[in-house]
Symmetry: D2
Subunit: 265 residues, 4 copies
């Protein structure tokens, strides 16, 4: 039986402000990328999300970001490698502290926003993130963009990786995400998105914008949490996958990736 | 042979700014209260201090504070209990993450600035701090003001405690610190301070401002790190203690306090 | 013809986060209390709100707060007087800068959250706020709680004042707001609230929780912007006032308070 | 009689932290670049510096920066143009508010750190800074790197400009600053620096690292404030200039640049 993980961003509020419907999304996804305070995520919110995730058997990941609350971590910050190593360790530790305080645990790391996009190809900041993870706990799984050099770099560093695809994004013929600046970059029809994801899990390929099929090997699908219709989209994808006989479960549930296990990603 | 711990605040810079001479102080003290990012302490600084402390066998404590970078944690912030529990867990976790990344470990918690002063007598914020520690790790030792209700509250919560005295402060006849607003509240003569501390360790009492002797039971002496002459003062105290045959060592070295061991504090 | 001002909090988002429906509220209120960056309010949001307010002839006020983004300015911060003077000047100047950049102008100052509540009775922080206003521009109008010592203090300092009542709050027999912790403190029925406000403007009194009538002299009514139903409530109040023949207009429109004019508040 | 302005960075502390000896530097320089809170500069510090500058007849400039307290504004932040326009207006307004509160005035704008370096050649962020200045007050003078495209862009936008040279930096044969990563990029000998600056003012040229002379037209010389020996260096330069018969005075004192006056820069 085929299986797949569904991950989504959580805890993206800060103090008085909230984003998305975390409680509802946690009923649908199997992995929660939890903001750690640098782009969003105050400790009280983090505690609530982690508690709710653990109660539902949802895996908890540290959603680490550049220090950029005003820009929600969507802006590249030209940090030194040493600064970034420290910032990533700090964020993982903080979330792990919150998790520990409610009897839960952080099991993976995923970069957020500009940091995610930067490390997909920038070796220097990628190295900083991987160094941070290695120093903090080399058993933590690294989630990254399917097909990106970052995942190769992570595996070369001896870390277990999980490749992810984006449920509602169009792909170019060479397997990259179509830039958000292009028309049609984001798909809005739950039925279409669901069909594509079932297809992706079954065939390891997805239809690119030019109609060709392009290979995308993913162990996790990212569904957005903060757009209107996010919950409906996530539910549609999950139900569609299950209807197609694909098990939706945390990537760590049955076959935990192991450090040094290069076959994982 | 009598023994005592010397603790001092460390890592109180932030980014471009630094305070005190951490490296030098680490050669003299036996416990380092490390800022965790809320009143001071960026991750790179935290990493440097924790690494240096571990290399010298100096114990590492989380110096937790109100979220108040602009006020250096010296201003009371009327946080809710839930906010404060989260903030304290977050800070301990972040420092523990940094410590773990360099093979070190946080072994105690001490509040900083306004939080320290507040919890000495405010039951609500004291409870928040103790709840945070209990949830994060009930084996962490709590350092607090000798004779304060806070230490009683900590012991009642089942936590191990260490009472501290302040090396360079005058005491009132009832064993409290003389307010900094009063003349003579801070002592500046290393010889006088050293003599008082030797006396305190030997007799469990200190001479109050009115000349009477007042009991102060302390397992640790706090020496300041950020005033001019701080290093000289710390060295004088250490050398004076050792000359008097008192061993200066971490309070955890020989006889680690244990959770529930009400005799510790 | 009687008249009254309607004021509401605006620009209470920060970066990715938003609160309330500023554009819609600006069609109903006549004075906008604009967040200045310390409890909410990034410069882009501030620019948008100020531009929209100016386009509608809505007066612009600096909604100054304690430096407390994580607590939305709802937490008392024990700042020194000098710190608070600087913080308030900084915030007014920043908003005035934004206003100036779009050809608008700040005409009044109102404290937010914990600062509002604190200065209603705390002379020290009240003095800091008034000193800041006096130093920055003594022609700025001070908006404060009707009947509070703060307004007396402001007038004694030679500043023009505007007293405000809260549309949806219950009053005690001595004219204070019933604490939010008490049942019935916040009124939710637009019809009831509207009737009370028409009554207040006409008679200068409001019915207290014990059924007695208590004098409340207000030149402005504060309507909330961030609760569900806020827009509907604000519209109901405005329409009710106008139906009753009361003009709803900025307190500055016809009869600008003048510095030293003790009759204003 | 030839004249020149000496400018230096001021108010670069934040809360508990301070940098440099502002009071002493203010006796030597004629223009003070005052941090506005985004890379450094709390309101109390800003007030102190502005007051001291005004008392000595030192011109006050807004030292605007990326929002990056943790990185001291030394890190590029990929802000949108709209964000950056807002951030710059906000900072100028805040400092002008502080200045106004003590009867002083901001007369120019200079970018700090990464923003300074970025806009020297990046048209997009340069445009954002210039748009902010134009919207806030087109009479404000823009200080920038002598010979940089930024100054051309500023003049094209109708703003008055002042070109500056760096007293203690080596120049390449094409008139650019030698990168700090190169050996010899920063000069430490006060006598040598003084001689170079006298030479620069007299001849409009400076000796480049390869021994050739390169034209550098500057109306202001930047002397550093936060390095050891900064005060001694600044004094040496000032005294050397005066000994050489060159008047050291604010660039605005006698001949204020005017908007649209393209001959200024």
């Amino acid at each position: 039986m085929q299986q797949i993980d569904l991950n989504s961003d959580m805890g993206e509020g800060f103090g008085r402000w909230s984003l998305g419907e975390d409680e509802t999304m946690l009923e649908t996804v199997t992995s929660a990328n939890v903001a750690c305070g640098f782009h969003a995520g105050d400790p009280e919110t983090m505690t609530r999300v982690v508690t709710a995730a653990a109660a539902r058997g949802v895996s908890i990941g540290a959603h680490v970001a550049y220090r950029d609350l005003a820009g929600f971590g969507r802006r590249y910050v030209d940090a030194t490698e040493a600064e970034l190593v420290g910032d990533v360790v700090y964020q993982i530790g903080a979330l792990q502290g919150i998790a520990r305080s409610v009897g839960a645990e952080v099991s993976y790391v995923k970069a957020h926003g500009a940091l995610y996009n930067t490390i997909a190809s920038d070796e220097r900041h990628a190295r900083a993130v991987l160094t941070a993870i290695t120093r903090y706990d080399p058993m933590l799984v690294v989630v990254g963009l399917a097909g990106s050099p970052f995942l190769d770099q992570a595996r070369a560093a001896g870390l277990a990786t999980v490749a992810e695809a984006f449920a509602d994004r169009a792909y170019t013929p060479d397997g990259a995400l179509l830039s958000r600046r292009e028309p049609g970059a984001v798909l809005h029809d739950p039925a279409q998105v669901t069909e594509r994801m079932v297809d992706l899990v079954r065939t390891g390929t997805v239809e690119a914008v030019d109609g060709t099929r392009v290979p995308v090997h993913a162990e996790s699908l990212c569904v957005h949490s903060d757009s209107p219709g996010a919950v409906a989209m996530a539910r549609a994808v999950r139900e569609g996958l299950e209807r197609a006989g694909i098990a939706v479960r945390p990537f760590l549930a049955d076959d935990p990736p192991r450090a040094g296990d290069a076959a994982v990603g």
